[in-house]
């Protein structure tokens, strides 16, 4: 019975991890899928979000999740600024691919170094009354510090999905990606639309940052651990497919969790990439690729 117990627990932990990974990958999927921008700095922004939440939590005692949601607004604006800058200095000159990548790598570096100088390399964490508790359901115990990020991650995916498919701006984000001239002919300004999309991607980083710091203590360079995984999830899900991002993240979460339970935690990343390669070999557009 011990292995069944372990197995069920590993699956549940994997699903929970998946909801969180989806939240971290969502911004990459939007920006990569609709704007063709490889925002390699996204995980660093997630960590930046964690620090913002840490400050609000440790100074004012604000609930970490609420803090992450509140910070979404300034992150959205910051995203618009970054996109405008990127547009003016790179995209407009058709220099987006390699130089653009260098630009976002530079931002990644700036964020990391900035956090390092300001807060040092010590691990930081947040406090909330529920974080140490868990609920027991049959064989499994579910800690709140995993359950809440899962629920919040899934909720965020759902909201972004509704936004993209039901609102004019959401449809325009898709439209600009498919045919920019056509969007202009309907009176939509692609630069404005893309700014909104990039801002939205950044806003998800702030919420994901709150989830990250609930799950584990953070330090400035922590984003690096996620770069490989989040791009794997974005590609696996079919770039720009929000639902695909969630499915891919849950798949990867389960695979990683099973590997570290039954084999070794150090093998977990290899399994993720094994799955990525396998899926791409069979379906190059990803699971939900359109």
């Amino acid at each position: 019975m011990l292995t069944l117990d372990l197995f069920v627990n590993a699956i549940v932990a994997g699903i929970l991890l998946g909801g969180f990974l989806a939240a971290v990958s969502l911004g990459i999927s939007i920006v990569f899928g609709y704007l063709d921008i490889v925002n390699i700095a996204h995980p660093a922004f997630v960590v930046l979000g964690s620090y913002a939440v840490y400050i609000l939590n440790s100074t004012f005692g604000i609930d970490p999740l609420l803090a992450g949601i509140a910070m979404a607004a300034p992150f959205y604006l910051l995203g618009i600024l970054i996109y405008r800058f990127y547009y003016a200095f790179f995209e407009r000159h058709g220099a987006e691919s390699l130089r653009g990548l260098v630009f976002f790598f530079g931002i990644l570096f700036l964020v990391e170094v900035g956090l390092n100088i300001t807060y040092g390399v010590d691990y930081r964490m947040v406090n909330a009354f529920y974080l140490g508790k868990s609920i027991e359901i049959g064989l499994v115990g579910i800690p709140y510090r995993l359950l809440i990020p899962f629920v919040a991650g899934v909720a965020m995916i759902f909201i972004v999905y509704l936004y993209l498919s039901k609102t004019f701006y959401g449809m325009a984000i898709q439209g600009v990606a498919q045919d920019s001239l056509a969007a202009r002919l309907m009176g939509a300004d692609p630069i404005k639309i893309k700014s909104v999309a990039f801002g939205m991607g950044m806003a998800t980083a702030s919420v994901a940052g709150a989830l990250l710091i609930m799950i584990s203590p953070i330090e400035p360079s922590m984003g690096r651990e996620y770069i490989g995984r989040v791009f794997a999830i974005a590609v696996l899900g079919g770039m720009g497919s929000v639902v695909g991002t969630l499915v891919a993240a849950v798949l990867l979460g389960i695979a990683e969790s099973l590997t570290s339970t039954f084999y070794s935690p150090s093998m977990a990343p290899a399994v993720s990439f094994g799955i990525l390669l396998l899926v791409l070999a069979i379906r190059p557009s990803g699971i939900f690729g359109r």
Binding site: S165, F168, M171, A172, Q174, G175, Q178, D179, L181, A182, A183, R184, L185, M186, G187, A188, D189, R290
Partner: protein
């Protein structure tokens, strides 16, 4: 009762259009060092269907792009007269021109291939002035193009060429146009579909009281629904006249009727 309902239905689309028009005066335009249009003048008056005839590469699309602000003329002027006011269009951006209600169905349709038929139509209503009319316009489009209603949840890219052209037209109706420009709608369609398409354009024009400028190479079909037309040859207006004169013209005979 039925007749009264119909007449009311047609009536509610009417709006004061008297004297509204687009005027193109003596423009030169081209791409980089290459000049394509040479001193082109034309006008489009409210309520008209005007056809711009010419074979490949004579400058039809370039003229339409000038009106839309996609190509900047190096000389001359383009203006819109609206309820007695003159609005300069020369030098304006595409976005502004669209906001004046000048709507283009571009060459090659430019649908959003992965969005559904319905989403494509809704995108047509992106501009603010079209938003209040969404419900009525959508109902109108689905009624005028029952095929689109049947396929409303299908991705636009998966439809046939004829259906796609209908969708492109319907999407432009959703933009609530004051002036509708249509660039070579018949390209790539089988002859039977072309005839059907032009009948639809005529029907739309009559039911919605549209003003249409259409670039075409299919002389025969296009002149059937046009009130007037221009023949453009090597970037110059070679002939301007009403439908009957157009059909008689020697250039038309030479280019299209094989005489």
């Amino acid at each position: 009762m039925g007749a009264r309902a119909t007449s009311l239905k047609t009536l509610k689309w009417k709006r004061p259009t008297l004297g509204n028009r687009i005027v193109v005066e003596n423009i030169d335009a081209g791409y980089g060092a290459v000049n394509v249009l040479h001193g082109v003048s034309m006008e489009l008056n409210a309520g008209e269907t005007v056809v711009l005839l010419g074979t490949n590469g004579n400058g039809k699309s370039t003229l339409i792009k000038c009106i839309m602000g996609l190509v900047r003329p190096s000389r001359g002027r383009i203006a819109m007269e609206l309820d007695g006011e003159t609005i300069e269009l020369t030098g304006k951006r595409l976005e502004d021109i669209v906001n004046y209600g000048i709507i283009l169905v571009p060459e090659g349709r430019h649908l959003f291939p992965k969005l559904t038929v319905r989403e494509n139509l809704l995108m047509g209503a992106f501009r603010m002035a079209a938003r209040p009319h969404i419900a009525r316009n959508l109902e109108f489009c689905f009624e005028a193009f029952p095929r689109l209603l049947e396929r409303k949840n299908q991705p636009a890219g998966s439809m046939s060429g004829g259906e796609q052209q209908m969708l492109a037209l319907a999407r432009a109706i959703m933009s609530h146009p004051r002036f509708l420009l249509v660039d070579e709608p018949s390209v790539g369609l089988a002859p039977i579909l072309v005839a059907h398409l032009f009948e639809k354009i005529k029907e739309l024009k009559e039911r919605r009281d549209l003003t249409i400028l259409m670039a075409e190479q299919n002389f025969n079909q296009a002149t059937k629904i046009a009130d007037r037309g221009y023949i453009i040859v090597e970037g110059k207006i070679a002939f301007a006249g009403d439908r009957s004169l157009l059909r008689e013209h020697h250039l038309v005979k030479k280019y299209y009727l094989g005489a």
